[in-house]
Each structure stands twice: as C-alpha cells, then as structure tokens.
Symmetry: C2
Subunit: 349 residues, 2 copies
DNA sequence: CTGTTAGCGCTTTCAT
DNA sequence: ATGAAAGCGCTAACAG
C-alpha cells in the first residue's frame, strides 16, 4: 500500500507567506466534487455526446462553480496536438505584415488554433528562434520568405509538421508556399512608368533580399527599352519615411534630371512625396512616384501615390487554409500559390 | 512483468503511408546514445555548470547529431512555468498597439519568454478568450483597457499570475497598471486649441469607451471657457481614414462655422486633412486639425497635423518589466504607472 | 557529479 | 455510459 505523502498539502502554516501559487483546480478536483472519474469530466468537456445528460449537467455545474480551466499543456502532451500554429515574421511594425498576421489569426481562431508569433529580426539566428518555437510543439508553422539556413530547413522537416513559406516564390519550397514574384513586381513598376512616358527615372531603394529582387525586375525592363536609371539612392533596410525624404534629397543633389521616382516600398515613397511637396514639387505633375506594398493604407493617405499592392489578407487566409487542410490530413489543393499583385493608380503617374 | 505492448512500433509495414508523425527524438533517446541518464541530459541543457565538461560535450554532440528539440510542453507541465506571457489587444491592425506589442515582445524575449497574442475584437466574449489563453498556463498576462467582465476578473485572480492592465487608468486595477488618462488627453487637446485662439471648433469623434473619456475631458475644458463645439460628427469605432473624410464633409454640410477640428484619433485626423486639402483648404492656415495617438507616424506623414502622442514603446517595455519583476518574486516598484502624453505640434495650429 | 523515483494534468486504451 | 490503468516527456526531490 504505497502511501502518497506528497499528496497532502505540504505546509498549511505559512502558506500565505508568498503570493501563494495556490494549487489550481485540476480535473481530478472537479471529478471528486461531481462524484465521477477524471475521464468522465474530460469527456464531458471534450465530447459531451459520450456522457449522459445528467452527468453532463452535474459536471458542468461543478466546472462553473470551481472555475476549472483545463491545463492545455497537459492535454497537448498527451494528445500530441498543441492547437498552436507558429508564425515567423520579420517584424510586426509594418502594415504589410500586420494585415497578414491578422487574417491568419482570425481564420485559425475559428478552428480553435492559437497563433504563436515569432519575430525574426530580433533574433541573431533564425534557426535558434525556430528551435525555440518548435519546442512548443506547434501543429504547423508559417515562415516569411523562402531562404533559410540549411539547419533551419532540416529542423523543420524533422518536425514533421506542415510548413507554409510566404511572401516570395521558389520552385522548391520546404513544404507549401503562398507568395508572389518580386521580380515581376519590379517589372510591373517599370512598365507602368514607361507606359506613362517616363524615360528619366530615379530610384530610392533599400537593399534587403526581396527588395533586390524587385530591383532586378525593374532594371531588366528598363534595360529592355535601352534605359538606365538616371540616379539611384540605395539604403539599408528597413524602409522608413525619413529615409524616403533623405533619398529624394540625395537624388536631387546628384543634379540629374528625372521625371519619376520608383521606391522599393511605400514608406519610402511617402517620404519622397513629403520631401517633394516641401520643395514645391507637385505630385504627380512635376514628379511621379511609384511605390510597393500597400493595397489600402498608402493609397488612402497619399492619394497621389501609385503603388503596387499585394493582397496581404489573402496571403494570411490562404496560409491558414493550407495549414488547416494538411493538419486535417487532407492534401491541400495547391502546394504553391501565387497571389499576384495589382498596380493601383490613384492619380495619373 | 507487465509487458509494454504499445512500446514497440505499431506497424512497421505501411508506416510510410501517411505523413508519418514519426516519433520525435526524446530526452531519453539522447540519454541512451550518450550513455547517461535522462536527467543528466536535462541538466546539460538547462544548467551545464552542474555537469562535468566531458559529459557535457558528449551530450551536446548527441543533441546536435540527433537534432533533439526539448519538448517545452512537458517541461512546463513539470516545472509549472511556461515561459509564456499572454497579451490581449483589441487588434493588431493599428499602429498604436503594434509598437507596444513589439516593445513588449522584444523585452520579454531577452528573458526567454514568448508572447502569446490574443485579439479581443474577434472574440464574442472576452472571458472566453481569456479562459482559452489561461489554459496555456501563461506566467503573466497583459490586458488592454481596464474594464473587464466580473467573470474575467475572477478568472484572472484565480490564476494567481501577475496581470498588467494597460492603456488607461483606474484607481483599482486587478493587479498592476501602466497607462495614461484619456480625460487629461482630451483636456490637453482642448487647451491647445483654446491657447491658439480657436473658439469655433468641430469634433470628428468615434464612440468607443476610451474615446468617450477623451471627449468628456475635451468638453469640460471647453465648457470652462463657456464654449460648446460648433458641430460634432460622432461615428462608430474603429476610427479610420475614410470616416475622417466623411466626418469633415458632414461638419461642412452642417453649415456651421469653425476654424479647428479635433479628432478622437489620428486616422480620423488624417482623413479630415485629406478631405480639407481636396476642398482647397490649407492646413493649418484655413483649418487647424488636432488628433490623438501617434508619436511618430502621423507626425511624419502629415506634418501639418498636431497630435497628442503617447509613448507606446514605454507602455510595452514597462509592462514587460513589471511582469518580469513579479515573476522573479520581486515586488514591482510601482503598481500603477502613468506614462502621460505629449502634445506634438508640427505646424502652428 | 550522477542516477532513481515519482509525478505534473491530462487523455488513450481497454475493460466493464 | 463509465472507469482503471498507463504514460505523454520532462524535471524536482532526494539519494549516493
């Protein structure tokens, strides 16, 4: 007859000395009070149809009265399903990602999943971030971008969970993919300006990997018409409003003539516009500006800005659908989805 | 001799039929390969100073080779510390909250905590959201706002974890608080306009709880000078750019004369400015506009906008510090912190 | 410095 | 419809 010495409260006296991590109500406490076994409580909560109506009612009453909150950690450990989806984004201080995050979160919530957000810009090594997150046993994971350290790739594959990469395209994703072609975006920007008759074009760009892809697409189209940029101002990521202002100032200092400025993303473009207006230039009459990124916001706040918008909500929602499908065992219809983009013109560029 | 039938692989043939949730590497696997006990592996990873250098090296080698990722769920279950902090925000599609979230997340990461984000606007009942999150056994929780259902309050207190409410003030927080006074913000807006000589003032406001507090403060100051708003346009939350446009249009249709417009938040103010400019009004010469919320962004993009800024980063960081202090057993210095606000004038209003 | 034992709170499996 | 036993993977507590 093994005695269970640690079963009884350790120390009745002095128990209130510290915030008192008072033992929480467990499923067994509920069971005891309701006069049933633990497993019946579990069933009453998870699969009420397996429990008689009277028992069910009794259990529910006790749950409410005691304020019992099931320990999801324990449940997940047993079932090997955490109902957590991890999502890795570079930052959250960027409208671009925020909308995707929100769409993803909402859709997953509907299915009872919670999103664990990882911010990659603030971790030295992406694979450490990922390892830390995989330890939480997510049922699926979303990544931003498609270039990851080999170590990261290995870990993700070893985790045997669905993975969606986003925000870019590649023929060989780790698992699934929903994104768009940055080169094509760049090309579209260039074609737009060319179609409006611009030949003298300045660039205000930042040099992160995906921005560079857009620039390549942009330059290729220009080259196809035998054109080179009149001047380029290339700065470090992240793209911000003040850097846009500075960018235009720099282009103007170069003394080169240009009728249009293309920017690697909308915050830069907004800065360029502000700087231009401060100098008495009318947009787009004196200077056309084209940016990239924001379907709604930039277009709203800066009616003069033409921009290449991507449907961030679609990315978030699609990523959610793909993950859910795979978790449910269904094969997702498409493993690679190109959501494309739209040139949004608010004023004639 | 209890046989352990479920110990052996269930079915060797056909095992590859489905994605095969291949059994992950556990601490025991690592222990076996390294020729030590499980607890030694645990120590090697968590408290290497307790393990001999040779053992340590051997264990680490095996960990790397096998790609072992500790199951944090299991660890948390045992230690009763999840290293998760839950943060409840209304939405994430609002620069206001985003900066606080980012600051919070960064600070907590430094201490090895992960942030679990809950979005309250999309859940019918706040207390269901909270219950779902508490089940994940967070070590602390951050809430936006100070008015919560009694049920929510009860649950949070029963959870025996540190709680920080934010974004508002109250003399009786659940636990800790970091925020600012919305009434004072409103009062400051009014005083600012009065000091600039404005007597005919229009309001474009939305009617969420905290905005209403700001309005009350605003109106009281006006009343103190014997002034009533010339016209008011009161709309539903959330405050958006288009509603700002519409708001000004409505004020103008009223036929009332006014030289300044106060807005409950910056997105509205930006809309008002855009609409004004479209109608040929110069800001602030013909029409002064004052908003609320954004320390950096709105001021940047709309130099003509005067706004009352709050230090969102400070809110996030302070909330993190307070939670960390309490988790560590220290009493946080102050339980109630008023971060205040700043009137930011970019152009003479 | 290392190991053994037990058990965190839950749910799967098998029995009744 | 309900329950008993076992164990998910880990680490606290107590040896040695």
């Amino acid at each position: 007859m093994a005695k269970s010495p640690s079963r009884k409260p350790r120390a009745v006296k002095g128990a209130a000395a510290r915030p008192a991590a008072a033992k929480p109500v467990t499923i067994r406490d509920v069971a005891k009070v309701a006069g049933v076994s633990a497993i019946t409580v579990s069933r009453a909560l998870a699969r009420p149809e397996l429990v008689s109506p009277e028992t069910l009612e009794r259990v529910r009453a006790v749950v409410t009265r005691t304020g019992y909150v099931p320990n999801v950690l324990a449940g997940s450990l047993r079932t090997r399903r955490s109902r957590i989806i991890a999502a890795i984004f570079p930052q959250v201080s960027n409208t671009l990602f925020v909308e995707a995050i929100q769409a993803l979160t909402e859709r997953l919530r509907e299915e009872g999943y919670q999103v664990l957000l990882g911010l990659s810009s603030y971790e030295r090594r992406e694979d450490e971030l990922i390892a830390g997150i995989l330890g939480r046993q997510p049922d699926g994971i979303l990544l931003t971008g498609v270039s990851h350290a080999p170590e990261t790739r290995r870990r993700l594959i070893a985790a045997h969970i669905p993975v969606v990469e986003t925000w870019d395209l590649t023929p060989s994703p780790i698992d699934m993919l929903v994104g768009f072609s940055h080169e094509k975006v760049g090309a579209a920007m260039a074609r737009h300006l060319l179609a409006r008759g611009h030949r003298d074009i300045g660039l205000v760009w930042n040099n992160d990997a995906r921005a560079e892809l857009r620039r390549r697409g942009f330059l290729e189209v220009l080259a196809g018409s035998g054109i080179e940029p009149a001047a380029t101002c290339l700065g470090p990521a992240p793209a911000t409003f003040p850097r846009g202002r500075e960018g235009l100032a720099q282009l103007l200092r170069s003394g080169k003539r240009f009728t249009a400025v293309a920017c690697s993303s909308d915050p830069l473009a907004q800065g360029v516009i502000a700087e231009a207006q401060d100098r008495g230039l009318r947009i787009p009459a004196d200077l056309a500006v084209i940016g990239f990124g924001d379907l709604d916001f930039a277009a709203h706040t800066t009616p003069a800005l033409t921009t290449v918008g991507i449907d961030k909500v679609a990315i978030g929602r699609l990523a959610a659908e793909m993950l859910l499908a795979r978790i449910a065992g269904r094969e997702a219809g498409e493993r690679i989805v190109d959501v494309g983009f739209t040139v949004i013109e608010r004023a004639s560029t």
